[in-house]
């Protein structure tokens, strides 16, 4: 089943889905697995597994640190794919690869698509790969039946959104504000206007990410976005309060 129909099916039971995020190998693969268990139990619908990269220039401080520490601990791409395979076999949620383009470029685009697919991934998010540069990768993905997730942003012109809309598959990732991952976003008219603009250019379900951290953010997006994307907030809780904290966080978020 493709990502789009998976999302449609999950949405029959609830009015907004949740996508969560872990950085592979940080703090460790064991802890990643514990986090994912909590996420699955809470009913998270999608998870991005970030493959660590040495130059994570679209990430904020917490994820930068996570990428760095994971690589320092010796995390390899093989380990990430192996972990991805375990995770997608074990949990009901769908899994996406998230990372930087050099990871795919260095192993070869064909091999990359093959490996995501073999590991049970339904798609990937490569924030530093603009659509102009993604033509071949998107074609390979289409053939393999996995989805490249396109990002739409508040600074994208209508002309640009139209172009992005044409390339969108599975779902669209709407970036709620300028900046890097991590800091808080004020949920307000700007975000609603962005979702509205995205809808004009794509029929794909829309996930909103960057700075989503609470139930009130989720309530705000309910009825507007299809998916709320939670990244840094969950990692921060895990670091500060461990498993009990993360359980409470997701229980409250998804209540």
């Amino acid at each position: 089943m493709g990502l789009q129909s998976y999302i449609a099916e999950r949405k029959r039971g609830k009015d907004i889905l949740v996508m969560a995020h872990v950085v592979c190998g940080y703090p460790s693969f064991e802890e990643n697995m514990q986090e994912l268990e909590i996420m699955a139990e809470a009913g998270v619908d999608l998870v991005e597994l970030q493959f660590p990269f040495s130059e994570p220039s679209a990430d904020g401080p917490l994820f930068v640190h996570a990428n760095e520490e994971s690589l320092k601990a010796g995390t390899t791409i093989d380990q990430c794919f192996k972990f991805m395979a375990e995770v997608s076999a074990r949990f009901p949620f769908k899994v996406l690869m998230m990372g930087y383009y050099n990871t795919a470029f260095k192993m070869g685009e064909e091999r990359f698509v093959e490996r995501v697919k073999e590991a049970g991934g339904v798609g990937y998010i490569l924030p530093d790969l603009p659509v102009e540069e993604a033509v071949n990768l998107h074609r390979l993905s289409e053939e393999a039946g996995i989805e490249p997730i396109i990002l739409m942003t508040p600074t994208s012109s209508d002309k640009r959104l139209a172009k992005l809309g044409l390339a969108s598959r599975g779902m669209v990732y709407a970036v709620a504000r300028k900046g890097v991952t991590g800091s808080k976003t004020n949920m307000g008219d700007d975000v609603l206007a962005l979702i509205e603009r995205c809808r004009q250019h794509t029929n794909m379900p829309i996930g909103v990410g960057f700075g989503i951290s609470s139930k009130s953010d989720l309530d705000f997006l309910r009825g507007h976005a299809d998916i709320a994307i939670v990244g840094t907030a969950a990692l921060k809780i895990w670091k500060d309060e461990g498993a009990p904290g993360l359980k409470t966080f997701f229980a409250e978020l998804m209540a």
Partner: protein, 419 residues
Amino acid sequence: MDIFDFSDGREGYYGEYGGVFLPEILQATIEELLECFRECKADPTFWQEYVALLQNYSGRPTPVTYLENLSRELGGAQIYVKRDDLNHTGSHKINNVMGQGLLTKRLGKKRVIAETGAGQHGFATATMAAKFGFDCKIYMGAVDVARQRPNVFWMENLGAEVIAVEDGQKTLKDAVNECMRDWVTNMADTHYILGTACGPHPFPEMVSWFQSIIGMEAREQILAQTGRLPNRVYACVGGGSNAMGLFQGFFDEPNIELVGCEAGGEGVGSYMHSARLAYDDASVGVAQGYKTYFLQNEEGNMNETHSVAAGLDYIGVNPIFAHLHDQGKVRFEAATDAEVKETLKLTMRTEGLIPALESTHGFVVALKEAATMSKDEIVLVNMSGRGDKDIFTIADALDDSKWKRFIEGKADQYRRERG
């Protein structure tokens, strides 16, 4: 040859290198920049204003100096040096910075950010920002802040805020990442003054264009002084801006050999160097907004780099050079830290010139080769910066014991004063 004619290729590509690999959020900003740059490049009054600014503010044209003593001593080719060290702030970096400053005004932006390695580019940017009235933030790896305090001192006193970047290797590449993070947040009022001919299009073309003033001047000057063109032209290559600047004066001459001199650090096989093209350790990748040769592992994560010269200590190289290297149009050599120290002593003693450690890499290769050439041949070397203001680094590199005692005395004095 017009390497910037993209009409039968892809815009911003040099062979398979270059391009724009940025987060979607910056797409509009980079388009706006490209449009503004195209206007400036097409407008002859912009270039006139740029040249006048550099003449009146930075002392251009910088001279070409004949190294009579060294040429005699080595007994080979006649050695000439382009003196970009004589610029205000002490290096060629000011050329690019003044150009992008004028462009920032056209963009209507009020704030500039820049990465810096050696501190020269940050120093030049802080100077320009003070003159033009821009807010200015400089990102610098914490390791570089520690080894380049004098430049940090000047940047801060010129009114810039200097941020020590604590991520990654805490050097130039990490400062670039931090600039990207600032830019994706503040692009509405901020221009990113990238300091070398790297990064996403149009930066490699734009920085090369501003630096081409070096080559234009040098070509005329060497013709005026010697009545002919040089046989070989040398410049150090960090990101590649001073080398692109000088080489552009000679690209159309098939008989002139262009030699890029990279940082060999501790040498071949040491994995402690920054030689992307001269050694075989780099491979093609995509990072920091563009595609080129990077010093990276098989999984695409960047390796540690090293050079005695902070300004050459970088993972990637200008995509134009990656292409010209493939085509055999520019030859790449490396100079090791040890060779740089020896050559610096030699140029000081025989010519009274103090090149920056970065620039000395070009001298190492040029002097080595000049010695094997004939007396009626000519070599031209770019002295991209001066070393006297990097006295701390150079005194360290030369392991000068009297200097160390002086610093110890100073430290004691400060401690006593603090009481």
